[in-house]
Amino acid sequence: MAVCIAVIAKENYPLYIRSVPTQNELKFHYTVHTSLDVVEEKISAVGKSLGDQRELYLGLLYPTEDYKMFRKLHNSFTDVMCNPFHNPGDTIQSKAFDGIVSGMMVQTG
C-alpha cells in the first residue's frame, strides 16, 4: 500500500514527495525525513561491507504502526534523470513521473 512516495536527493532534500491522503501530508514529510536516518545508516553500512552494492532495496526504513515504507521507483526515476532538460538537483516536475507515482498509489493502495 503505497501512501507516500518520496525521492530524496543525496543532500537529503526532497526531489519529489507526494502522498495520497493529502490532509496528512505534514506527517508524511516528518516521517520521510526521519526515515533518512535509517537510509543513511544502511547506505553507510553497505559502503563498509563492500557487499552487494547493487542491492538498491533498503528494506524497512522507518518503524511505524501505521504504514510500512519502502524505497522503490528506480526506473521511472532513471527516466527523469535521463531527460536532457532536467537539471540534476532540481525538484522533479515531470508529468510522466507523477503519473507513474499515481499509478503505484492507486494500484496498491
Binding site: E11, Y13, T34, L36, E41, P63, D90
Partner: protein
Amino acid sequence: MENKPIVTCAGDQGLFTSLYTSLAQQLPREPMEWRRTYGRAPKMIHLEANFVQFKEELLPKEGNKALLTFPFLHIYWTDCCDTEAYKSTVKEDMMRWQNSLRTHGSADWVIIVVETNDTKKKNKTNILPRSSIVDKIRSDFCNKQNDRCVVLSDPLKDSSRSQESWNSLLLKLRTLLLMSFTKNLGRFEDDMRTLREKRTQPGWSFCEYFMVQEELAFVFEMLQQFEDALVQYDELDALFTQYVLNFGAGDTANWLGSFCAPVRSWSGLLLRRPIDMEKRDGIQRGEASLLDLRSYLFSRQCTLLIFLQRPWEVTQRALELLHNCVQELRLLEVSVLEGALDCWVFLSCLEVLHRIEGCCDQAQLAANCSHTVGLWAYATDKLKSLGELCGLVSEKGPTSEDLNRTVDLLAGLGDERPETGESCWLVLRTPALSINDFKKELSHAAMEMYRAIGRLRSARLVGKSLAEFYMRKGDRERAETFLQEALKSYVSEGWSLPVTHTRKQIAECQKLLGRTEDYLQTSALLAGDVNLTTEERKHFCQEILTFAGKSGDHSNKVTLSMGVFAQLTRLQFHPATASVHSGAILQVELTLRCLMPVSVHIQQVAASIHFDVDHGGTHGRSKGAQRQTNPGTVEFIQGNSSAGPPSSSAAGPSLELDEIQDRSPSDNSLNSTGVVCKNTHLIMRRHDSNSPPDTPNCVSPPTVAMKEGAQMLKVQDVKLEPGNNSIIFTAPSGQPGTYTLRQLCATVGQVQFVLPHIYPSVQYEVYSQEPQLTVEPLSEPLLAGLPQMVKFTLLTGHYAVKKGDALQLSNTDTMPILPSTSCTARTSNPAAGCVLSIQSSDKVTSISLPPTPPYHTLEFQLEVLCIIPSGEVTLLFDNEIIFKQKTDLMVKSLCVCPQMSIDCPWSIYSTLLALTFYIPFKTKHSLLSAGNRKYIQVCVQNVSDVNFTLAEVKLTEKQHASLELQSLNTKEQQLLCSKHSVFCLWEVRWKDDLPSCLQCVFSANFSPLNQDVSAFKPFHYQFQLERVTTLYSVRAEILPPAGEQHCRSGFLCGLEVCITRLTEPAEGEMAEESKTDTDGLKTTKLMYEVADSSSNWAVCGKSSGMVSMPMTANATHKVQIEVMPLFAGHLPFPKIKVLKYLPHTAAVAIQPDPDSCVENDSLSLLDKTLDDQGDTASIRSRGSVHSVGSGDQQQKGVAMPRLEPFSPGQVFNHSHARQVLVLPATDDHIMEVNAT
C-alpha cells in the same frame, strides 16, 4: 529445564534405585549425533532423561498425541542370574511388561541385565554359565533384536571392566533414545503436517493446530533444541499472520472469528514466565483474543531467543510485533476501547525493555541502545497520546469524561499485577505532575539514545514532540530550544513542509515568550511562506503590521532582515552606463519582490551610499564593475529564504574572476600576472558544512544594523504589492567619484527591514569632463585645392559656453577659411540658440559661439580650402606643410597636413589641430628626344575619386625667353576621370643653343566635373630639366654573315655600333668630365654595353667595352661585336647602352654620400628599360630636390672608377626598337613548340 524425556523403568526397582544416580549423571555426559529426517542437518545433542517407574497408565492411549508425557524408552531391569528364578518369576514379569508395551504399540524398549560378582558368588552351585541367562532372555524376547538386551557388569565397582560395561550401556541407551525420538517425532511431525494440510477444511481450528505444533516445540525445547523450537513458533506466527492478511483481502477463515472479539484485556506482554499457562489455556480453549495469542506467541519466542542469547532480536521483533498487532487489529476490525491499544503497547514496550535489562548488564545495554531506542521512542509516543487522551497533560487537569475513560482503561488492565502493570497503573492513577515527569524522562532517554546512535533526525523528532509537551506545560523556553534545533535540521536539508510547521510552533512560542523581534522575524518568514494558506499568511503579516502601527518611542524600533520581507531581485540604472557627468540625472530602479501576502505601505525605502572620490579621472568610462550582459542591470541571485530545495545554493555562487597584473613601479614592466577570484569568501564558505547555508533561514535574525551613510537614496511612501515592485530612486550626482550602494532599508512604522549588504556590489560613477574640440572632415578624404567642408564638434564638458565666447582661429596662408553666410550650429540642447557668426581679419578668424550649457555638443561646419603646393623647392621646407608620400601602393598620393591653431575661451593654451588634405593629382614629366629635337611630356594622373575637367593646360619656361614651347595639345578642355591620366606634349624649339637646364612650370585649371567656369582652380607643377642637349647618337647595324642576305638563327652575325658625338662640348662638360690626352686632344671615356635582356641574342666575345671619344662634334667611333640570334623571326636589336666612364684619377677626397651612391647606382640603372626612362626622370627631378648638383659631388666622392648613366636626353639611340629578320637555320626541320 524441568522437562526431560520420560524413560520408564520396570523390573527390579531396588536395583534401579541403586543405579539411578550414576545413570542420571552419566547419560548426558557424552553428546550424540542425531541424524534427522527431511534432510535436516545432523546435530550433536546431550541427552537427559526423566526416569520414572513403569506404570501402564503412562503408556499413551490411542489418539493421545501429547509428546511431553510420551515415554520414549522403556527399560526392564533385572539382576537375575538364577535360571530357576528366571523361569519362575522374572520371565513372567517380563512377559507381562512386553505385552502391555505391545498393546500400546511401543517398540522402544531395552532389557538391562546387571551382573555382579556378589550374585555370582552367592549362587555358585546353581550357576549357569554367565551368558546363559542373557542368552535365554535374548532368545525369549529379543527376537532378532539382540541389541535390546544389555549387560551391565559390576556397576557399583570402580574397575575398568565395570566402566567399560557402563559405557556400552550408556551408548546403547542414547542410541535407542535417539532412535525413539526420530521415530516418534517423525511420526508426530507427519501427523502435524497432515493436520496443517486440512486447514482449508471448514472445521479446522488454528488453536488446535497451535497446540499440536507447540507440543513439538516443547519437545525440541526439552531436548535443548531451542533453534528448532523457535522455528515452530515462527511457523505458527507466519501462518497466523497470513490468515490475518487473507482476511484483509476478503478470505475469511471461520476460526478467526474468535480473534475478532472485542478486546477486553490490554495488560501488555508478559515475558517473565517461560510459559504463560493462563494464556495457553485460553488458546487451548479457543477463547484467546488476538492480543492474547500474540502475547503468548511472543513470550515464547522471547524465552527461546533469550535462551539463544539473542536479546537484541527480541527488541527488534517486539517493535515489529507491536506495530503488527495494531495493524492486525485494525485489519480484523476488532473493536478496541480508545486508548486501550496505547496502553497495551506502552506496557509491552516497558515489559520488553525490562526483560532485556534483566538479562544484560549495563554496558551491553548501552552498547546496543540502537536496538532498544525504537521501543523507548514508541513508548514515549504512546504515553504521550495516553496522557492526551486521559487529559493528564492539559493544564486544567482531566475532565470527568477523561476520568471515565481512565477508569475504563484501568479495567482492561485486569488484575493488578505488581510486576507488570505497575508503571501503567502509576501513569493512569497518578496526577498529571508525575506522569509528565515520567514522560519527560522517557523522551529524554529516547532522544539521548537516538543521538548516541547517530539518528539525529529521529532525535529531533522526539525533541519536537517534547517541545510540544513543554509548550503545553508552559515551559516555552525549553520548547523553543528543541524547536529551533529541529528547524535547523529541516532548513538545512530543505524540507519545506516541516520547516513551515515547526516555524509556526516557534512563532507561537516566541509570541508567548514576548520576544518581539524574534517573533516578528518568524512572522515575516511565515507571512512569506507559500506552504501556508493565504489566511494564515495574512494573519502573520498582520501581526507585523500591527506592531509596526503601534505608536511607540523610537528606541523601540525593531530591525529585521530584509530577506524575509522582500527580495531584491534586480537593479537597473538609467542611463545604462551607470556613469553620468556631475549634476546629471541618474535613476536607479530597484525591483523588489515582496513576499507578503498583502500590499504593505512602506514609509520609506532608503539605500545608503558609500562615496569614493575618484582621482583616476576615468572620465565617465564605466570600469566594468558590472559585468552583466545587460548593461546597467544587476540581477541578484536569491538564496531562497523559505526552505525550498537548496539546489541553487548547492551549486554555489559562480566564480568571479579578475585578471591581476603586477607591474614594477619604476618602469611599468610586467612582473607577474594572474587570475584572482573575487568572491572567495562566498565560495569557500560552502565547504564549511557546519555553517547554515543561508542567514535568513536562521531563525535567530542576524544582527542587522543600518549604517548611517552620508548619502542616502530615499523614496517616501511606497506601496509594495505582493510580487515584483519597481522603485525608482534619483541618485545624487553632485560630486565626481564612485558611489557604491551598500545597504537597503525599508521602514514600516516601528519595523525596519534591512538588507545589510547588497551583493554583488553595485556602483555608479559621476565624472567631470574637460571641454573638447574636434575637427573632422565632413567627407573623407579632404581634397586639396578645392573648397572642403570641415565639421567642428565641441563637447562642452563642464564648461558652459556663454554669450560672446568665440573660437579664434589663426589664419594660415595655405588654408584659408572661406567665409560663408549660411553657417549655423547644431547643439544637443534644442533650447539653445544656434546662430554662429564668423568674423575674419588678416590674422584671425573669430567664430562666436551660441551659449551652450555644460555637457552638450555643439556642431558646426566651415568651408576651408587647402592650397595645393606647386611643388617648388622653396615651399617644401615650409614649416606648415609636410610632404608625405603615402605608403599606399595603389595610389601614390601626396597629402598636406596644415595645422590650425585655435584659441578657446576655456583654456589659455591654443589647441593645435591638423587636417590631412590629399592632393588630387600626381604629375610626372619626361623629356623625349628625336635626334636633336626635344619634346617635353607632362602626365597628370587623377588619384582622387572625383572626376575633373582640366582646362588651359600650359607649359612655360622661365629663364630662356628665346625658347619656344610649342604645344602639341589639341583640346581646350580635357576630361580627367578618377584614376586616369592625361598626357600633354610640347616640342622645344630654340634658336641658338639649347640651354642645358630648363626651368618649366606646368599650369592648368581644374574643377570638378560639371561645374561652371568660376569653379576652376589653378594647378601648378614646377619642374627642372637638366642636360637636355643630345651629346651622342648611337647607331647600330646588324650585318648578316658574309654571303647571306639575312641572318640565320644559330649563325654568327656582326653588330656594328656607331657612336657619334653630335655637339661641341659645352663649358661645364669640358670642366667636369673630360681630360686631356697626351696628344692634346680632349677625349672622354664612354662605356658601351650590349645587353639583351630578352635572351634573343647571344653576344660572342666582349659585350662591353671602353671607348675614348674625342670631344669634338661628329667624332665617331665604331665597334664591331659578334652576336648570334637564338631564334628566328623579327628580332628586336639587342640593347646598347652608353655610359659615362669616370676613371678613379678623377676622384677628389670628399666625404662620400651614401644616399646618392645608392641613388645613382649605375648597375641598377643598367637594367632599366627605356620605358622607365620617364619615371626615372621624375624621380631624379624629385631627388634633386634634396640637394642641387649632388651628382657632381658623388662623382668626386668615390675613389673607384665609376660608371654614370647619361641623362635621358643626352644619348639618342637610332636603333631603338628596330628589328631584324632572322631566318631559321636551313636544316631546322624540327619545330619546337613550347606551350606554356
